[in-house]
Subunit: 246 residues, 2 copies
Amino acid sequence: MTEMTQHIASAFDRDLEGIQAKIMKMGGLVEAAIRDGAKSLDTRDEELAEQVRMGDKAIDLLEEQLNDEAARVIAIRAPTAIDLRVILSVMRMSANLERIGDLSKNMAKRTGVLAQLTPIQGSPAALRRMAREVELMLKDALDAYIQRDAELARDVIERDRDVDQMYNTLFREFLTFMLEDPRNITACMHLHFIAKNIERMGDHVTSIAEQVVFLVTGAKPGQPRPKGDMTSSDPRYSVDANSDED
Amino acid sequence: MTEMTQHIASAFDRDLEGIQAKIMKMGGLVEAAIRDGAKSLDTRDEELAEQVRMGDKAIDLLEEQLNDEAARVIAIRAPTAIDLRVILSVMRMSANLERIGDLSKNMAKRTGVLAQLTPIQGSPAALRRMAREVELMLKDALDAYIQRDAELARDVIERDRDVDQMYNTLFREFLTFMLEDPRNITACMHLHFIAKNIERMGDHVTSIAEQVVFLVTGAKPGQPRPKGDMTSSDPRYSVDANSDED
């Protein structure tokens, strides 16, 4: 390896370290947004909800910086095919993180409205447990990325089934509440939106984990990812609760 | 310009033409998926719905090819900053197209279930008009990309307001139907899902238009895009119908 290529290689590695540090920072903010968004709903804490909404700006800014930085690195370092794959996955991962942040913000947004509606016993706590599961999946997906751990990433992909199951259970509960008493309809429409958004956060985390598997093994997500979702086949479910974007 | 750089430049242009041809092909398939997905709902045509579901595989495959092709071009041509910007926007646009395709597939999926439920007068036709608007926005967004027409792209971004308004109107209708008669709840939950998905398709088309504006003018979408959505401020709306991902 000539001194020149050595110089270029190490310069690229320094750039990549900076980019990975930003991704981890972004990931930390998004984990907090999921946690606090769900907590604000459960505890009806409108101040915390406002923090989550404001905090989303920092997440959006990080994604923009990551894209600019990645484009700059590609332009000036002309990375090899494998290095390029890393940079491009980082760009995709940051797009997934940004969307999870938006969904958390949207969850927090509903805190105020829900506080004014008929309380639906137990549901906010159940949504918080579901969000907690997604938060842990995200933490593991990011650890899997840093450690290039395909096994951990595959484990995250599998765990999305549990999130889908939690969604299915909640969905049946909401429908029952609505049919029992029309006064529950509005609150249940909100809670169902939130459950669906958390289920979609899980899908975005799964995409991040699939990026890690692809990075490490070169294997693309051939089959559709495992779905624990029975609603399209099982007549007991009245609405097809399939992920909208799979 | 030396013969060598001339050679590289023209090779890049040929690559870019191939990539743009694929994007337009993908765009055409997605436009058809929106149109046929909405039509299958309105006419209860389960055969057409099945075609849309099957057709989504071709859209996903094109996105994968586009990403591979774009990565290959970046790796072997080491494009200049401006050429790189074009390639990276194409990758983002293809991700948006892929998601619109998924949402259309999801819309088509509900044709069978809806056919078994209490019909909600006029709603499938209204959803079809809403989908038609999004389809036209997409067509214009892709024309704006090929012609590098920032004005047309800005026009598309503005028109997303109308789609949001259509969503708000439908949302109020569905809530009224549900409150009037619990037997409408299940069908309205489906129809509301579909309306929300079409509204999200509009957001993805808006992202494509924003990519075009960025490409032509270098201007990033600073402010949040215009939202015709009144539901978070207007008490007449019982559910915050904000886009989940803005």
